[in-house]
Symmetry: C2
Subunit: 143 residues, 2 copies
């Protein structure tokens, strides 16, 4: 059984918050971790169903919210308005191909520090940000 670390993290989180360890949560975590990249609640539900018929989408949504709270997943909202989930890891931003839908992650410390300057200039206190570049990926550009 893979993903021992994450399973432990979930178990820990559940215990710390007096929440219950159910097969559904276990199953959803497992399926979610096998997904590479970003997945919508609906797609995730479909995948979960394949292996564990009977798990409803309500539970999938609830569980994903839980995994986000537990720091194992995070929610992303791209331009189509549909919520997508990704495995939580180092901070990064996204490059999205508007043709094929491919999503590439990037990270840029120069931008991060420039952001800090901006925030300071306006007197804001930064909580989080969102930076997405939309275009055509190498395979889709036609020039």
């Amino acid at each position: 059984m893979a993903h021992e670390l994450e399973r432990k993290a979930l178990a820990q989180y559940l215990e710390d918050h007096s929440l219950k360890h159910t097969k559904q949560r276990e199953a959803i975590l497992e399926v979610f971790l096998e997904v590479e990249g970003h997945i919508t609640g609906d797609d995730l539900h479909r995948r979960v169903q394949q292996r564990h018929p009977g798990i409803g989408y309500t539970t999938v949504y609830r569980t994903m919210k839980l995994l986000c709270d537990a720091g194992l997943a995070s929610e992303r909202h791209f331009d189509d308005g549909v919520t997508r989930y990704e495995v939580e890891h180092e901070h990064h931003d996204h490059l999205v191909c508007v043709r094929c839908g491919k999503i590439v992650e990037f990270e840029c410390s120069m931008i991060e520090s420039a952001q800090d300057d901006i925030v300071e200039r306006y007197g804001f206190r930064l909580l989080r940000h969102r930076h997405e570049l939309y275009g055509h990926c190498p395979g889709c550009r036609d020039d």
Copy 2:
């Protein structure tokens, strides 16, 4: 009657695309231009109603889509998932206060050029981007 330039632009666009010049479109444009900042379809519809009862929200949504196509407005999607419209002008990004909802626009050429580097590094062709900083504004921060 204000906003002559924009009215002309709309008229031009309609003519170029064999679309019709209606009172509703005129009215919605007028009300939209008077709004400072970012407005949701719903709010805009409410405002339009005050001055021009009878204009349905369907028409407001359709017209805003049209104004976007005509380059007079642009759509923005912040984290709450609701579409907001703003008057189209120089490129800029946003600083959003998650407490009071205030939205401040900013512009940063350093970030823009850093973006270009990233895009090039991954072989993408950049079409547009979205860069939002979420936090607390000077009036809302509690430290």
